[in-house]
């Protein structure tokens, strides 16, 4: 990646973070947000020792929530504020996609980390095997990557296809479902259920999905971004 691309992408990323972290304690807000998300999920499982598979499902529900909060930051906000044109004038589509995807990656990964840590510490997880930390972490990283890619792309489609909402919906569903399928499998293996190899394959599949969607995303995006 040439330095000009790096500069552009980081400028856009910084812009997203600045808008989010405005105010005296922006970072605190984001942390509190992840904490609240986690508590909401843990409450539903409170008291019971739960199976690793189920824990994986819960973690994924929370991750989906975090991504659907990140979603509007992507592109719908630009169109609603009317700042989309400014961005179109100033930035190349690839940089725009990457800047937004990185921001989404950060938010989802933050939630994933807080969530994963707290789940391990606080919820009694009953798996066939003990927890495999690196696999768990790997699956969370893969999750953040894949979700960020998928969500950014969906966001772009939804924003552009403003009056074709159903179309956007039908597009984003097939994008998200494989992520979910791979993700739950990877995470549950990390937490100690299921076959380890399947989990590893799933996590790696997830990472690949993330990398692929982040690699193809910009091209698809470029096609819808400029009218």
């Amino acid at each position: 990646m040439s330095s000009s691309w790096r500069k552009e992408i980081s400028a856009l990323f910084v812009k997203e973070v600045q808008s989010e972290l405005r105010g005296r304690s922006g970072l605190l807000n984001s942390l509190l947000f992840s904490l609240v998300t986690v508590v909401a999920v843990s409450l539903a499982t409170f008291g019971h020792s739960i199976s690793a598979t189920f824990a994986a499902g819960m973690i994924w529900v929370a991750l989906l929530f975090a991504s659907s909060v990140a979603l509007p930051r992507c592109f719908t906000l630009e169109e609603e504020q009317g700042t989309g044109d400014l961005l179109r004038l100033l930035a190349r589509p690839h940089a725009v996609f990457w800047g937004k995807a990185l921001y989404n990656l950060l938010l989802i990964f933050l939630v994933a980390l807080v969530l994963g840590g707290l789940f391990l510490a606080l919820v009694e997880i009953r798996g066939d095997r003990p927890v495999i930390p690196w696999l768990f972490l790997l699956s969370l990283l893969g999750a953040a990557g894949a979700l960020a890619g998928a969500v950014t792309l969906c966001g772009a489609l939804v924003a552009q296809a403003a009056n074709r909402a159903t179309l956007a919906g039908t597009i984003s569903l097939p994008l998200l479902l494989p992520v979910l399928f791979l993700g739950v499998n990877g995470t549950r293996a990390g937490l100690g259920d299921g076959v380890l190899e399947t989990g590893l394959t799933a996590s790696i599949g997830l990472l690949c999905y993330g990398v692929a969607s982040l690699a193809i995303g910009p091209y698809l995006f470029a096609a819808v971004w400029k009218h």
Binding site: S4, K7, E8, S10, A11, L12, V14, K15, Q18, S19, R22, Q81, G82, T83, D85, L86, R88, L89, L90, A91, R92, A95, K226, H227
Partner: protein, 192 residues
């Protein structure tokens, strides 16, 4: 430098304009006039690449459109939660040009409000910031949509000066509803 060849735009069945052709050289300044809803802003957006033409072609100045074109319009919005300085920095990093934050802010008299969020700006201040962003990279073609709307006397003089400077550097297209601004142009294109 900046030109159009058989340019046309339609929305649905309705043509806003068809078969426009012009070429602007350095020193030229084109006034685009016409009633409300006649397509002035649409023409400027076409030239800026924000809208795609229904027919015909556009020839742009050589080089990356992000630095060789400047665009400022009444209905272009800026980020309400960023400050003026942050806007200029963002724009310069994206275009890969010098930020020139201080000189630009001084030029458009926004030094005092440099660190205020744009959401707290008045309309005139916002128009000034948009002008600053438009001329930041010393573009070869400058597209201004209603440049003097919402600017005060000093602001209008500033806009005039910017247009004059621009004509030394390249070409200029100005869409306006105000007959008084016709004197800023060397050519007039009236859309019906």
């Amino acid at each position: 430098m900046l030109g159009a060849e058989g340019l046309g735009k339609r929305y649905g069945p309705r043509w806003l304009f068809r078969d426009l052709r012009f070429t602007l050289e350095r020193g030229d300044s084109l006034i685009v006039a016409g009633e409300n809803g006649s397509g002035k802003s649409t023409l400027l957006k076409l030239l800026a690449g924000l809208v795609s033409p229904s027919e015909g072609t556009i020839s742009l100045p050589t080089g990356d459109a992000r630095t060789s074109l400047g665009y400022s319009a009444l209905d272009l919005n800026v980020y309400p939660h960023l400050t003026a300085i942050e806007h200029l920095l963002l724009a310069s990093r994206l275009r890969g040009c010098e930020p020139q934050v201080q000189p630009l802010l001084e030029r458009v008299s926004l030094t005092r409000a440099a660190n205020q969020r744009i959401g707290e700006f008045s309309t005139g201040m916002r128009a000034r910031l948009k002008l600053a962003i438009a001329i930041q990279a010393a573009p070869k073609a400058l597209l201004l949509d209603e440049p003097s709307a919402s600017l005060d006397q000093a602001g209008r003089e500033l806009a005039e000066e910017i247009i004059k400077d621009q004509r030394e550097r390249g070409a200029c297209v100005i869409a306006t509803n105000d007959k008084a601004e016709w004197r800023l142009g060397t050519h007039v294109l009236e859309l019906a």
